[in-house]
Symmetry: C2
């Protein structure tokens, strides 16, 4: 697949991937654009346009082969490999991420969780035990780490991210309510929950007239 | 404020609001567009364009009055009132949301948390106790509920959302890995963590050449 896919289509791919995964779970192995359109609440022509980027998987009178299409989209999303994830912060949110089996199913393996709180260090979280944050440099040196999930307080997160970047970890899933200030090629995906809540209150305060 | 503000600007408001809040916390009461530009990593002309929507708070040689500007943006975001929030699901994620003091500070008051798990019911979560999900209809009848945060399994979330909608709760903060299928005027803000993680893996798999 060498064809360039537009960033608007890329943005929609995770949602397609989710729906295709659900169809496979239900043992549905092919689906028409009309049916997918109904389920996803997107027009059928949008679906055909988007999925045409992936070659001839949609056939007249047959529909899409769910497994092949999911595989192709997965490759583009980088889901055809595994990622070793460490979690910084063993609070409720860090524990929620560590325990969410759906991530592992998609190839995101949580291999360690760290905290500075003596009461948490050594305690079990799922199949893991909480490491002392002081062991982080040694852990990163001895283990492959692809992604660091940051569930630290916002005052700590940028500094820990910078240290990790220096240690060679360049991808961050950032839950701290602050932006990371990282050099160069680091990849950051922010989950700013407070901003999400503000979008909700905006939509409550400004209802769309229908 | 009767002027229509574009949806592109609206989307950026939560981030402005967050930065302005941080400035106030640091007791900075005025700031130039240049300085804000440096901190937010947005061009100064973009900032001037965006903030001009809010009238004459930016003055040549003075900059923006942080508190007034924050107040104006807060009003548009619906943050000039309180919201009563209930949480459905007292797992790690539900508990993380219940314990996050930042939400309360912005006017989102978590007033109750519900679960079906007998082991969780009655247990403390922050200042609250976990209610039995069976008490939900009565609770909603007797208390004002503005927002329901759904941290339920995806198999349960759509059904519970529909029930809540019928009970008169029309705003949902949805963490379940599924779309809600709600009638008409319901307001839904989705936080699809698995999709967020896929955007991260996409950016790892497809590095931007610099």
């Amino acid at each position: 697949m060498d064809k360039k896919i537009s960033s608007a289509v890329i943005k929609r791919l995770p949602r397609y991937y989710r729906y295709l995964s659900e169809l496979l779970d239900q043992e549905i192995d092919r689906i028409s654009s009309q049916e997918l359109s109904k389920q996803m609440n997107v027009t059928a022509s949008q679906i055909r346009q988007d999925l045409n980027n992936f070659g001839g998987f949609g056939q007249q009178g047959y529909g899409y082969n769910v497994e092949i299409l999911k595989g192709e989209i997965g490759k583009i999303l980088g889901l055809d490999r595994q990622y070793q994830v460490i979690i910084l912060g063993a609070g409720n949110l860090g524990q929620a991420l560590a325990n969410y089996v759906g991530f592992e199913r998609r190839g995101f393996i949580v291999s360690a969780i760290f905290d500075i709180d003596k009461k948490k260090i050594g305690q079990p979280v799922g199949n893991l035990k909480v490491y002392d944050m002081a062991e982080l440099p040694q852990y990163v040196e001895e283990n492959s780490v692809d992604i660091a999930a940051l569930t630290l307080p916002k005052a700590k997160a940028p500094e820990v991210a910078k240290e990790l970047d220096k240690m060679g970890v360049h991808a961050f899933w950032n839950f701290a309510a602050t932006d990371l200030d990282l050099p160069s090629e680091a990849v950051v995906e922010n989950v700013h929950l407070a901003e999400s809540l503000m979008r909700l209150s905006y939509n409550i305060a400004n209802p769309v007239k229908k």
